[in-house]
């Protein structure tokens, strides 16, 4: 027998929506238990979270997309269907989102203005994509520059979630030579709490976790120095990688199709950036816990780290120089040899001449005596 979610009677709540979609209390509690575990909260918080979320009114969310590729939205909405993460995502009141909203043109912009007015100081602002600070015309929506739209919408937001590496750090648009002068949300907004959820794309459950935490406690989860939820970005991919024992044993794949790669050995030598990438891919995994890049045979590219595009070639091992070449060493050796020869020549001319002792006939005669 299926037990409905407790607060199904309250109209307009998340619980009502979940109930209507046939989600049982047991399923919802299981989901909340895993969320509390991932957020590193005490186990007893699962029930509190379930209660709080199901009783919560649908949270107004405004989603702004700037210089981005929509990969973040794709990741969050089409990761696996239909998951509870999706349902939670559906059950927020997503008042503005280019890709998902039916309205267009002026109607779409009116929806954003209306949501800002109705939920002033309470709505959650989610941003994906970086903001160009060069020519305002580089990226506009309804004739409004990204910068102006962010500043206008951020003013009344309770908190801001920068989803994806572009919004969190500038990402691909911000990579050298950064033609649009792209910056992150955090670089422009200083007076509001900004949560960075980096990743290209980010793990869907991280966004769900932040939303759940906000709905339960009315506050943001604990963040690290870079503004990331500590519970998800506290450890490196390498530390949690199932291939780690091979690294410790010195067993490495030398190419993507050699015997070692087929045995599932460590991908460090193929450029895996797992040791310097802080994310939860190795534990939460992707596509409903199916796999993550390393498990499918490709090294981590470090997509959730700031400026990872400019951190050297993707397929160069972390222990290799970023740009050093053999020719560079050969050139240095040639210069050193030439300098050595020049010094030798100089030494022989000056020091040898100075050390040369001249002996006079008188001195020889004196010695004979």
């Amino acid at each position: 027998m299926k037990y409905p979610i407790k607060s199904d009677g309250l109209p307009g709540t998340v619980g009502e929506g979940l109930s209507a979609r046939g989600v049982t209390r047991r399923e919802f509690l299981t989901f909340c238990t895993s969320l509390t575990a991932m957020l590193a909260l005490p186990p007893a918080m699962a029930g509190v979270m379930a209660e709080a979320i199901s009783r919560a009114r649908r949270q107004s969310v405004i989603w702004l997309s700037f210089q981005e590729c929509t990969g973040c939205t794709e990741s969050l909405t089409r990761s696996h269907a239909p998951t509870l993460e999706n349902l939670i995502f559906d059950l927020i009141s997503l008042d503005y989102h280019h890709t998902l909203q039916a309205a267009s043109g002026e109607a779409a912009e009116l929806a954003r203005i209306q949501a800002m007015k109705d939920n002033d100081g309470r709505y959650l602002l989610i941003v994906d994509g970086s903001i160009p600070t060069g020519n305002p015309g580089f990226s506009t929506i309804a004739g409004i520059s990204n910068y102006d739209m962010l500043m206008e919408t951020a003013r009344g937001a309770a908190a801001i979630v920068a989803v994806g590496t572009c919004a969190a750090y500038g990402g691909l648009p911000g990579a050298s030579p950064n033609p649009t002068g792209a910056v992150s949300v955090g670089e422009l907004i200083r007076d509001k709490p900004v949560v960075n959820v980096p990743g290209c794309p980010p793990i869907p459950v991280v966004v769900t976790g932040v939303l759940a935490h906000f709905l339960t406690f009315g506050s943001l989860p604990e963040l690290d120095a870079q503004g990331r939820p500590r519970s998800f970005y506290g450890e490196t991919i390498h530390d949690r990688c199932y291939r780690r024992p091979f690294y410790d044993q010195g067993k490495f794949a030398q190419s993507f199709d050699d015997e070692a790669a087929r045995h599932g050995w460590c991908l460090f030598k193929l450029g895996c950036k797992g040791p310097v990438t802080y994310n939860a891919c190795a534990t939460t995994k992707w596509n409903d816990g199916t796999s993550f890049p390393i498990q499918s045979g490709h090294g981590c590219i470090g997509c959730s780290e700031a400026n990872f595009w400019d951190a050297g070639p993707l397929y160069r091992a972390l222990s290799m120089p970023v740009s050093g070449t053999t020719a560079m060493l050969e050139g240095a050796a040639a210069i050193g040899a030439a300098a050595g020869v020049a010094i030798t020549w100089h030494n022989r001319k000056t020091k040898a001449a100075a050390a040369h002792e001249t002996v006079t006939v008188q001195e020889l005669l004196r010695e004979e005596k």
Binding site: A306, M328, A333, A337, G340
Partner: protein
């Protein structure tokens, strides 16, 4: 600048410059030493023992009988440190990868845990050697700033590498950057300090052996 940017700088421009200064310095000093020239020795060699120089290169690399009793600390800690350092530098897989990327040379590494243990032994040996240098009156008298500098810049890469490997002190990305910077400091100073013995040691042993043989002390 975030830790990854620092690491990119350490792996990029900083490493390139350090490597180039090191190579230029090594070549310059080798050419300078070889080309220095000596006064022509007009005397007749006392013994004619061909290959004396080459033999000395090997015989001086092995411990002399009785050394263990006379200088046990220098003897043991010296060997542990030197052999350990060679293993750590040339048999840790990421280090081999570094050398491979620059020279194309490649060989099999040892398990990381084994290299880790060797690194610990090398660090302990270095600390013992410093303590001995400070407490032994003869060694202390013979030591100058250059000796302590060489000791310091050799310890730093070992220590930072160990800390990075074990995720100690700072987070890994920052610690790895510090490790690379310490290696770069070592590379830059190597040709111009006593550390240059790593390149001149065989040359000087050969020369000593050859000259000793000429003077009647053949090896």
């Amino acid at each position: 600048m975030n830790p990854l940017d620092l690491l990119t700088f350490a792996r990029g421009s900083a490493m390139n410059w350090a490597l180039m200064i090191c190579i230029v310095g090594i070549m310059l000093r080798l050419f300078e030493i070889i080309g220095l020239g000596r006064k022509q020795d007009l005397s007749k060699p006392r013994t004619v023992t061909p290959g004396s120089g080459w033999r000395t290169v090997f015989t001086r690399s092995w411990p002399i009988a009785g050394m263990m009793k006379r200088e046990p600390v220098t003897y043991l800690a010296g060997y542990v440190f030197h052999v350990g350092l060679l293993i750590v530098i040339f048999y840790y897989a990421p280090h081999i990868d570094f050398i491979r990327s620059m020279t194309g040379l490649n060989w099999r590494g040892l398990p990381s845990t084994l290299v880790d243990a060797v690194a610990v032994a090398s660090i302990i040996a270095l600390l013992v050697l410093l303590a001995h240098r400070l407490t032994n009156p003869v060694k202390r008298l013979l030591s100058s700033f250059g000796d302590y500098l060489a000791w310091g810049v050799t310890l730093l890469p070992l220590l930072t590498g160990y800390l990075a490997f074990h995720h100690q002190l700072f987070e890994y990305t920052l610690m790895l950057s510090l490790h690379l910077f310490s290696v770069e400091l070592l590379l830059v100073l190597l040709p111009f300090t006593k550390l240059f013995h790593s390149f001149s040691v065989l040359l000087s042993r050969w020369y000593n052996g050859q000259m000793a043989a000429r003077k009647g002390v053949a090896s």
